[in-house]
């Protein structure tokens, strides 16, 4: 059985112990029920991961639509202030918020455990439904319009959420990685 591999992966993707356990259980149930459809073309591990990944996407989709009340409050309070943190009243960068030049190079950072830890920490600080929007955007590299339909969100709302999420992430990485 690959329960531990599946569980670790689900935990990594959802950052919730209970959710990860539920998803893995559901994966095995779905696999059991649909075993007839499994033709042995791929190996069973790949097949189980494919089911699990679908379940993870579903989870983020539902999670976006039904954020818990606490999360909703959190994301609404961010809505009011988030832009003002970075820009002044006429929309120019605030002096202390201006991005400064970083050495870029995705390859080398992603191999660095410490960097990955900081990245996870920064994503954890985003409101959960923003994080879900990011996951849907990057997990499947879907077209924006399709995600908007799935989340029942206007395209304008969607890219504004991404804009704010990226501003926050950028700032958090700058403080916690590039400056320290």
């Amino acid at each position: 059985m690959y329960a531990d591999n599946l569980y670790s992966w689900a935990l990594f993707k959802t950052s919730s112990k209970e959710t990860a356990e539920d998803l893995v259980q559901e994966t095995f149930m779905a696999a059991f029920q649909n075993f007839g459809k499994f033709k042995g073309e791929s190996n069973s591990k790949t097949w189980l991961f494919a089911i699990l990944n679908n379940k993870i996407s579903d989870y983020h989709r539902n999670h976006y639509c039904n954020p818990t009340i606490a999360e909703r409050k959190q994301s609404e309070s961010w809505k009011d202030v988030s832009n003002d943190v970075f820009f002044d009243s006429i929309g120019q960068w605030r002096e202390d918020q201006r991005p400064f030049d970083w050495p870029l190079g995705a390859e080398e950072y992603l191999d660095n455990d410490e960097f990955n830890r900081v990245l996870l920490h920064c994503m954890g600080k985003l409101p959960a439904n923003w994080c879900s929007a990011l996951q849907l955007k990057y997990l499947e590299e879907k077209k924006g319009e399709i995600i908007c339909q799935e989340l029942d969100l206007s395209p304008t709302n969607f890219w504004q959420i991404l804009h704010r999420a990226k501003l926050q992430l950028r700032k958090c990485l700058e403080i916690n990685w590039f400056k320290s």
């Binding site: 201006r98 991005p99 990011l134 501003l167």
Partner: protein, 87 residues
């Protein structure tokens, strides 16, 4: 003059928004022109643009690399027992 400025000069906030919008959908010719004018004048937004692209790549790879070594392997015997008891 003020009216003209409002129509033809983007603020940094608006410019960075358009950069993100562009990743999802096509911009109108006017938006493209305004964004081009802004980024050719504004150093800070040019840096933001590079970093936004970089962040895209980092996030894409972060979510898509099924690289086992990045994920801490966790054993969960409780869960296994529960799954088995369900069958």
């Amino acid at each position: 003059m003020r009216k003209f400025m409002n129509r033809w000069i983007l603020s940094c906030k608006k410019a960075t928004e358009l950069m993100e919008k562009r990743l999802l959908m096509d911009l109108s010719w006017k938006e493209r022109l305004l964004l081009f004018m802004h980024t050719s004048m504004c150093d800070v937004c040019r840096i933001y643009k590079q970093q936004s692209k970089w962040l895209d790549e980092v996030l894409f790879r972060h979510f898509n690399d099924q690289n086992d070594k990045k994920i801490t392997f966790i054993e969960n015997d409780d869960l296994k027992k529960r799954i088995i008891s369900n069958f």
